[in-house]
Assembly symmetry: C2
Homo-oligomer: 208 residues x 2
DNA sequence: CCAAAATTAGACCGGTGGTCTAGACTGGTG
DNA sequence: CACCAGTCTAGACCACCGGTCTAATTTTGG
């Protein structure tokens, strides 16, 4: 976990480190990113870096968490999905997804970071960072799933973990494809609609 | 590409190298596997290794290709999917998938290898090996998709690349989940049925 | 039999993530 | 002021990585 000493740093130096790390991780992914380059770019020494962070994964987790928090702040919280009926559920989800993708195409470095995250997730040294980030994202997915089950928007004949695995995998691959497409902004809603339609067909309740 | 010199080696030494590499790659994935350990385990020198193979990715590709060939030999070729109707298409695919998964649970090292492949696919140094292997697997998927379109088993309102991305992503995630489940052999058919059902709902034609 | 070619051994290279020590700075106390 | 404990920094150092290279050895063929 990031050391408390880091928080005491002047804001500008925190920014310098964070920016250097973001640049490096976004450009090279987790594994191929070089801590030495980050250190040079940030203008600090190795000793200091390891005084602020446990290790490479810790730095990555910190950067990802910080940037993610910024994204969520920008996009807003996920609305309450459990209020209406199944159609509302899916339409709310689609809206939110669209907003997320819009924000991500506006922040390509963060998008690259998340892509790299998916790629690096299976890797022993990354496990600790993985666990930390998952504790923030998985409950999120669980809540959505629960809400979906409650309003009958999600099928009940498949074990929930399998549903989650399927949706996450599909989502990851599709995100990758969407980003690689560099779809124009006006095509995005149509594509998202297709995508959510596929997900809904796969995991949606009987009526859909 | 693997050098012709390798083929001239006594079969037992080829086996030793292949086995050492398989052990290492299956245990640690592509990135975290150590060529030095492979060399030690195989009892050859670095010079020889680089005399037989271009680089690490080349060795990986060779191992994967060889093991994969063994798997396909065991499971048999994919049957002709374009002969019957949509239901036949999906049922043939389900059968084949089930046989594949059975063979994979019987060969856990190969399963680990393929899992690691997916994880390492995005990585600059892996690109060459990736390209070589994809030229064998992608046409395979394309053919299946084409057959599916022909018999009306696959929806036509989604761009094919998006379909492929979705199915591959879903498949990858689900495979991972199935393996992690260590499902008993008698549960497997039921799970596969659920899985193929999800895929069919997502990408299947109107009637299904 | 010997030269040329094929093959092997392993030192070596620049790089990696991570550790460690020597010292610079700081604030508090006699 | 002097001293000192605690905090922080610089960068040498470590083991290891994938990959290169050269010198020696073995095999081949005329």
């Amino acid at each position: 976990m990031v050391r408390p000493q880091f928080a005491k740093l002047p804001a500008e130096q925190q920014q310098a480190i964070l920016q250097a790390a973001l640049n490096e991780f976004a450009a090279h992914g987790f594994h191929d990113a070089s801590l030495n380059r980050v250190i040079d770019a940030a203008g600090i020494s190795k000793g200091s870096m390891y005084y602020y962070f446990d290790d490479k994964a810790d730095l990555y987790a910190y950067v990802a968490r910080t940037e993610l928090a910024g994204l969520i702040e920008q996009v807003g919280m996920l609305p309450d999905l459990g209020a209406g009926d199944a159609d509302t559920f899916w339409s709310l989800l689609e809206d939110y997804y669209l907003r997320l993708m819009r924000a991500l195409t506006a922040a390509p470095q963060l998008a690259a970071l998340l892509r790299g995250w998916a790629a690096a997730a299976r890797s022993p040294e990354f496990q600790s960072a993985q666990a930390a980030l998952e504790q923030e994202s998985v409950p999120w997915v669980m809540l959505a799933l629960e809400a979906g089950l409650r309003v009958g928007a999600v099928r009940t004949d498949v074990p929930p973990p399998l549903l989650i695995a399927a949706v996450m995998g599909m989502g990851e691959a599709i995100d990758l494809w969407l980003v690689s497409q560099q779809a124009k902004d006006e095509e995005l809603p149509e594509l998202i609609k297709l995508v959510m339609g596929m997900i809904r067909r796969a995991v949606g309740g009987d009526g859909a």
